[in-house]
Structure formats: structure tokens, C-alpha cells
């Protein structure tokens, strides 16, 4: 019986120094997958490397020796000498736990920023590489595809991905709820601190093209303006810009509010009442809180934004529980499939299927031939039974022989497909998963070998 093992380290287990080395290794061209032919214990292998994690997913027959081999590969890849003790940074998940962990990674529940979608793309790349190097076969092929569909389920059935996490991201999300499309909106930055820069970066990613910067020191304003292809405005004149601005990010060090109720109120008519969104990340606040009372004007200070995040965090907790449930469910399903790959259940179900067909056909025939005597009926029964037995004899002997080999999973899976045995599972897999063709192709290639 082969084992699935996941070995690796991530931001939670490895200290910064090690992770820095990961980041270097992450940019390397060499893929450790090319080592597979040199490994004795490992059958299949996938290598995932992001800047926050490096993970080997592999199957092997002997757990201890497989893990030893892969640890060596990991050391070589990251460039750690033998003297560095790795054990405390590494996690090793076996079988069910490995499957679970992979599903968690794919659904971005194990990420530094939970719910960030990037990791799934990286996992897909890792899988593509493995397909190229031909290091995945039946088990990992199916496992990886399963992990993609689990990630999709988690994404559609929970809102893990859509809950904002940082202050500036929360601000952008709010802006989207007010304005919808941000591309034709204009952003005014008052004050050019680090937070303003971060918010500006988020807005630029949302497609905002027109930005203005007003800062007390012009130099810094120009610096920021150059970075975001923005224009600069004299600090004393930023109120005039309110007429043509949709979003204001304010972060000055002023002790008193720089934007008063009257400043905004008097300009709303000129703006034809278009919505105006103030993001006040300064402490003390830059925007008079009463401004929020004006129609079509929305003011969020740093505490309000923090509130949005906290709200999301709570929501995220709930969603994480739902996600975990999905993952547990899918892990069990996968485990059932794994178990069905050993020889005995496969042989049993081949026989059952044949017997079922035989019975059904007999019933049909007997009902059409009511004149048959009991003896004749018995003779036909025996005849059909022995046809089935003889027909299945060779395949079953073959399966029993293969059951001892490393490659048994391939033959079991192939048999199951050939006889269409796993109905429940096959229906689900018939759903179009990205790269399904690739799966079939690699399967054929590996089978030929």
C-alpha cells in the first residue's frame, strides 16, 4: 500500500532567515522534480514553491525512507548544509493529513493572508510542471485535480476570499460599493505618508487612472506623483479640487480638521451631488465627522475602517468553519477512492458487476421463454456463470499479480475505468476540470511506460 506524504515548511514553521533562503530558491530555474528518477522510494512527486512555503507532495511505499530521501532533496534545493537542523521547521503530513493539508493550501486557508487567491495559481503551475516532468500518475493526478475542485467549492460556497483584511484594502472595497467601477474616478491624496501610498497602490490596482497629490512639502508630493503618474496640487488649494474628485484619502499630520462641514457642503451643488468618499486615515482626524451627515458624502476614519476589518474577521471565522467542513468531506471522499485502489475491492467489484449483468440478462431471457423447464433453466444458469468465470479469470489473476507491485494503483484505476466501476466518483469527475485532457494524456503515457 503506498502512502501519500506532504513534507514542507511555511511562514508558520520556518523563521525569517530560512524563509529568506526560500525566497532565493523560489526564483531558481532548476526544479527538484528532475531528481525523481534518482529517488528509489518515491513514485510520484509534486513540488510547490512560493515565497512563503516550499512543499513536496509525494507517494512512497516506505514512509521513513521516502521522507529521508525527500528531506535531502529539499536541503539541496534550498541550499542548506547538513549542519542546519531542519526538523523543527518541517512538517510532515501523512496520508489523510497530507490530503487535508493540500486542500487547505489550495483553498488558501493555510496562507499568510487567508483567502488570497494567488496560491491556487501557484499550485496549478506546480501541477503543470509535474505533468511536464511526468512525475505525477494516478494518485497525485487525481489528488491535485481534486484539490482544484475543492478550492473552487470553498471559493463559491464561502466568502473567504472576499473579506477585506487590511485598512487600505477595506477602503478600496468600500469605494467599490459606493462607485462600482473605479476606473473613471478621481482620487485625491491629501498628505503623502506611507498609508496614503498604500491606499494609492490599492486604488491603482483597481484601475484608477487619475490621481492628485497635495502635500505640505512639495518634494514628497512630486515623489509620490511620479510613482503613480499623478498630478500635484498646491496644499492650500486642495479644497478647490473637491469639485472634480470622487475619493479623498487624507493623512496629514494636522492637529485640527483640514476639511470642515461647510467646505464640503458648499461644494456639493457644484459637484451635482455626485457621491464623495473621504478616507480619513490621519490621527487626529482630518475630516470633521459631521461631514458624514451631508447627503451623498461618506466619511470613514481609521476606526471605522478597523471596524470593517473586524466585522470581516468575524465573518471570516464563520466562513472558515464552513470551509473546513467542505475540506473534511472531500478528504473522506478522496480516502474512499484511495482505499478502492487496492486489489481486493477492485476484484470484488468487477465480480459483482459481472454477476449483476448476468442476473439481469437471465431474468430478461427467462421471462421471454416461459416454456423452459427447471432443468433447462438450471443449465443456462450454469452456462452463463461459467462463461463469466472463465472470462474474468485472466484479468483477475493479472490484478492479483500486480497487487504486489508499486504500480498497482495505475492498474486498479485502469481496471475501474475499464469496467466503469466507481459510479459515484466518476460522475463527479466527469465534471469539466481544467486540464482533464492533460490528465488522460499523462495517464496514457505513464501506463505505456
Amino acid at each position: 500500500m503506498s502512502h501519500i506524504v506532504l513534507l514542507g515548511m511555511n511562514h508558520k514553521t520556518a523563521p525569517v532567515e530560512i524563509r529568506e533562503q526560500l525566497a532565493v530558491a523560489c526564483r531558481k530555474e532548476v526544479n527538484p522534480l528532475h531528481m525523481l528518477p534518482h529517488l528509489e522510494q518515491v513514485d510520484e512527486m509534486v513540488f510547490l514553491s512560493t515565497c512563503n512555503r516550499v512543499e513536496f507532495l509525494f507517494t512512497c511505499n516506505s514512509l521513513a525512507r521516502g521522507i529521508r530521501e525527500i528531506t535531502a532533496v529539499l536541503r539541496a534545493h534550498v541550499g542548506l548544509s547538513d549542519s542546519v537542523p531542519l526538523d523543527s521547521y518541517l512538517y510532515v503530513h501523512k496520508d489523510l493529513e497530507a490530503v487535508r493539508h493540500l486542500f487547505m493550501v489550495a483553498s488558501s486557508l493555510d496562507s499568510m493572508i487567508v483567502g488570497e487567491p494567488q496560491v491556487l495559481g501557484q499550485l496549478k503551475d506546480a501541477y503543470r510542471n509535474a505533468v511536464e516532468y511526468r512525475t505525477v500518475r494516478v494518485v497525485l493526478n487525481r489528488l491535485l485535480h481534486k484539490s482544484f475542485s475543492v478550492a473552487k467549492r470553498v471559493r463559491t460556497e464561502t466568502c473567504i476570499g472576499s473579506c477585506a483584511v487590511s485598512v487600505s484594502y477595506a477602503a478600496v472595497e468600500l469605494a467599490r460599493k459606493i462607485f462600482g467601477d473605479l476606473r473613471d474616478k478621481r482620487v485625491l491624496l491629501i498628505g503623502a505618508g506611507e498609508m496614503a501610498e498604500l491606499a494609492a497602490e490599492h486604488f491603482r490596482r483597481q484601475g484608477v487612472r487619475r490621481m492628485m497629490v497635495a502635500n505640505r512639502t512639495l518634494e514628497r508630493a512630486m515623489e509620490l506623483a511620479a510613482r503613480f503618474k499623478a498630478e500635484t496640487v498646491a496644499f492650500d488649494r486642495f479644497l478647490e479640487e473637491l469639485k472634480a474628485t470622487d475619493i479623498v484619502v487624507s493623512s496629514t499630520g494636522a492637529q485640527e480638521p483640514v476639511i470642515s462641514y461647510r467646505d464640503v457642503r458648499s461644494r456639493m451643488r457644484e459637484r451635482r451631488n455626485k457621491p464623495l468618499f473621504f478616507i480619513d486615515i490621519a490621527v487626529p482626524r482630518d475630516v470633521d465627522p459631521r461631514v458624514n451627515e451631508i447627503d451623498n458624502v461618506y466619511v470613514y476614519d481609521i476606526d471605522d475602517l478597523q471596524g470593517v476589518i473586524d466585522h470581516n474577521r468575524e465573518e471570516r471565522q464563520n466562513q472558515a468553519q464552513i470551509a473546513e467542513h467542505i475540506i473534511n468531506e472531500e478528504t473522506i471522499k478522496f480516502n474512499n477512492w484511495m482505499n478502492s485502489l487496492s486489489a481486493v475491492p477492485t476484484i470484488v467489484s468487477v465480480r459483482e458487476k459481472a454477476e449483476e449483468i448476468r442476473r439481469n440478462e437471465l431474468r430478461k431471457t427467462f421471462s421471454q421463454l416461459p416454456d423452459l423447464s427447471d432443468r433447462e433453466k438450471e443449465a443456462i444458469e450454469i452456462l452463463t456463470a461459467s462463461i463469466i468465470k472463465k472470462l474474468l479469470h485472466d484479468p483477475i489473476v493479472f490484478l492479483k499479480q500486480k497487487a504486489q507491485r508499486n504500480a498497482q494503483a495505475i492498474y486498479m484505476d485502469f481496471t475501474q475505468q475499464l469496467f466503469n466501476l466507481v459510479e459515484g466518483a466518476s460522475e463527479e469527475d466527469a465534471a469539466p476540470v481544467e486540464g482533464e485532457d492533460a490528465q488522460d494524456q499523462t495517464f496514457l503515457k505513464t501506463a505505456k511506460k
Binding site: C159, G180, R269, P275, D295, Y298, G307
Partner: protein
Amino acid sequence: MESLFLVIAMLCYLSGTVGYLVYLFRDLEQLPRISWTILLAGALFHGVALVMRMVNTGHIPAATIQEALSLFAWVFVVTYLILQIRLKLRILGSFVSPLAVVFMLSSWLLPSQIMLKSEFLKRGWVIVHVASLFLAIALFAVAFSVGVMYLLQERHIKKKNFGFLYERLPSLERLDSIANYCLMSGFPLMTAGLIIGFANAAIVWHSPWNWDPKEILSLVTWIIYAVLVHERLAVGWRGRRAAWLSILGFSAILATFVGASLLLGGHHSVLSGKM
């Protein structure tokens, strides 16, 4: 046969509405499409029933308040179905489809009273009067639903208190522009419909203005919408106030449509002495 079709239509509207309401709470991808299709099926059955009635009576089915409400419910559903294709805002169904059920139900529950003598309803101009007004009201009803959505979403953002609807509802600007679209296309239709109505009155009763309660209320309604359109165009009124005004306007329409016909006199209602 006709009532069987009406029952089927009603059931379709109900189940479509249930589908849309479930969608409000759970983001199931296929649900809006299924609900839309069910509503479409309902509209088809309803349409057949209306045609049958037309063939039987020989005039458009707007003689009684029942008929008029049923016809309006149909116009409303068809308007929504078309708008939905154009706007592709799936959550809209959750706020619009319950209205369709309400109109349809009230057409059954309200007493059958003759509003207009059937000979009027054979006149071409009366048909145009009814059609353009119904279409305008259907658009205003959508604007009403969108206004409710806007106010809910506005409240979330203004009060910084995010209920589950916050995630489900679209952005304020999107809602406002839909309301604007409905208003700007509904208002000319309403104006035309009313002018035709008054012109008809001038011919039939020899005076365009008869101090009929329905006439008065219609004019009030028209003024509300005229103010809304004017403010939107001239001053750029939008958002919360515009949403409230469109809700007020639609309430006035309901008062005109149902209240005046049932409770007050006049030549649009059964108590009319002039007819």
C-alpha cells in the same frame, strides 16, 4: 381554461419569487436563471389567459379593477424580464418579483368592480392610454424596488453597519443609474399616457378636466415625478432623496390606481354617475 392558465401563471410567479428570495440569502449561481425562466413561463401562461379574455369580451382586459391589475401585473413581469436581460443585475429579481406576486394576488382579492364601460376600451386611443401608462408604471415600480435597494445599501454604508445584504447588493452608483434609467424612460410614457387620457376625456365628456379623484391623483403623481426628473436633470439630484421621492411617487400611483378606483367616485370607477 382561462382561470387554469391564470392559476398556473400565479404558481410560476410564486415559485420564481421564492427562487429569487432564496438567492437573496444564498449565492447559488444557477438560481437566478432558473427563477427568471420560471417567471417567463408564468408570463407566457398569463399572456395566453389575457388574450383569451380579450377574445371573449372583445376589448382589452381593463374594464374592472381585477382585469386592470392582472393586465398590469403581466406588463410589469414582462418589463422586468426584459430589463433583467439588459441590466444583468441578478439580485434585482429578489426585490422586483415579490411585487409581481402582490399585484397578481390583489387582482384576485380585490372586489370586481367595473371601472370603465367596455365600449371605451375598444377605442384605439384608450388602448394607447392604458398601454403607455401601464408601461410607465411598470418602469416606476422597478424604480421603486431599486430605490428600496438603494436606501438599504446607503444605510449600510452611511451608518457603517454592515448586514448580510451589504455583500449582496450592488454599488450605490449602479443602483442610482438604474433608477435614473427607469425614471427617464417612464416619465415620457406617463406624460404621453396622461395627455391622451385627458384628450379622450375632452371628447367623451366634452371637458378634459372633470375633478374626478383619479384625475386629481394622477396629476399629483405626475407632478411628483416631474419634480424628480427636473431635479435630477437640472441640479443632479440623486441618491437618498431621489430614492425616497421615487418611493413616494410609486405610492401615489398605487393610491391613484387602487384607492381612487375603489373608494372614491368619478368616471374611472363604479360609483360614477356620469357614465
